[in-house]
Subunit: 268 residues, 2 copies
């Protein structure tokens, strides 16, 4: 869809939740770019709406602060129910700790038949964990889990319970929302759980703003990791017992998790 | 990089492992498309090399059967060490049960300094689980795990152990390589583990060839799921205790996992 020829409003509205990927345009799916170009209204957290641009003057940008996911989803349904073509933007994958779940929460609770008649679609994106993993090597190369450490919407006891099981299952862990100023001690608590049963030399990858201008990648170990190295914009990938390091040609280390277990090392 | 102006071979070779995403060109990252266009040699499983095309006559296609991951990775290093610009293709994300880990396995074992001098990069892609999740709604909207049921490279006892912990942690599960002709009974064994502790009405999503011409999406429940519905090209997503269904405007059901736990339902 060319920016010079915006699509006319469809008969009934359309709401698409799109994933921008980690931030760089070169990692955004062409389907997402086309949907953004065809949108009349773009709804999202201000930072992500800016990442999704530039937009044409005829496109309306309805950006808002973070932590207003449900209000944003309701606005999007309101507009789409009026016949507008609406895109809700998320960074990463909208289906992973992002706007897609909020949109369905709102839809399920809605009484308005017009909201339920909206044409709805989700377009995936490359998640922050995948972007960090690719820069680091292949730490998610075998069985892994993705867990948010935010206790805004779930009690810490459940988070701790999940971490213990993930460690006992020897899964690689990708941890989102690891540490905020509002709960400075919880990441240390999470680290204590991980250190109880995983070796000190376990590789840890810290990916911050990967795919954006200020990106940084740190490779460390479970023993050396300090909570102060981590904030809300960091994805923390903690290796399994099998995760390994290999020297990079340009210096530093790659981190990867092989496809085999020790009993079954591949030799094809 | 324009196809009409292929890049000259760099001084030292370059090996890039790229993720094609689920299959449709509209879900492939532009960075991957550019790397494919700039490649001199394209290495991969025949099906994926075909998905990655079309290529120019001056580009060499080195495709091979599946299950030859290590041989393919060695070929790629051999070519890159000669100064060639080489791309190894994976479907989905190369970092998730795919070629990136195989490339690092080969690199770690290699004695040849020329292999270790190769400029190496991994470009991520949208995984099969993400593509299936987006078509289904947002089943991966909260904490989840990604587990391969293939026992080619790990014993079944480890797979069963991981499934039990994932269920006890109440994680959503995305299961890869769920059922092959060589091990027809194991998926039933996995189902038995899941059914022991997760409710019969737990939503299950079956995504097969999502993003390709023959794509199919099935929404069912843990009680109704039959092993015969599943093969190696199916991703199986099993909900947590919180995963829910919502009616679609066009008929059928969306499946999503809310961001909240029952104690902390969001009301913003």
């Amino acid at each position: 869809m060319s920016p010079a020829h915006p699509a006319p409003a469809p008969q009934s509205g359309r709401l698409t939740v799109v994933g921008l990927g980690p931030g760089a345009a070169e990692l955004m799916a062409p389907a997402v770019r086309a949907e953004l170009d065809a949108a009349q209204d773009i709804v999202g957290y201000t930072t992500y709406v800016e990442l999704a641009g530039p937009f044409r003057p005829d496109q309306r940008l309805l950006d808002s602060d973070n932590r207003q996911e449900l209000a944003r989803a309701r606005l999007a349904f309101d507009l789409a129910a009026q016949g507008r073509r609406v895109v809700v933007v998320s960074s990463g994958d909208p289906g992973v700790f992002a706007m897609a779940a909020a949109v369905f929460e709102v839809l399920e609770q809605a009484d308005d038949p017009a909201w339920h008649a909206v044409e709805l679609a989700i377009l995936p994106g490359i998640s922050a964990a995948q972007a960090a993993a690719a820069r680091a090597g292949a730490p998610l190369g075998h069985d892994f889990c993705v867990i948010s450490l935010s206790d805004n919407l779930k009690p810490w006891s459940i988070i701790a319970h999940r971490l213990r099981h993930a460690v006992d299952a020897d899964l690689v862990l990708a941890l989102y929302n690891p540490r905020s100023l509002a709960r400075p001690t919880q990441f240390a608590d999470a680290l204590a759980i991980l250190r109880e049963r995983r070796a000190p030399e376990t590789p840890v990858v810290l990916g911050r703003d990967i795919g954006r201008a200020a990106e940084s990648l740190t490779v460390t170990t479970l023993a050396a990791l300090q909570p102060e190295q981590v904030d809300m914009r960091t994805v923390v990938i903690v290796g399994s017992s099998l995760t390994r390091q290999v020297a990079r040609a340009a210096g530093g280390q790659w981190v990867y998790t092989p496809r085999w277990c020790s009993q079954t090392r591949a030799t094809d």
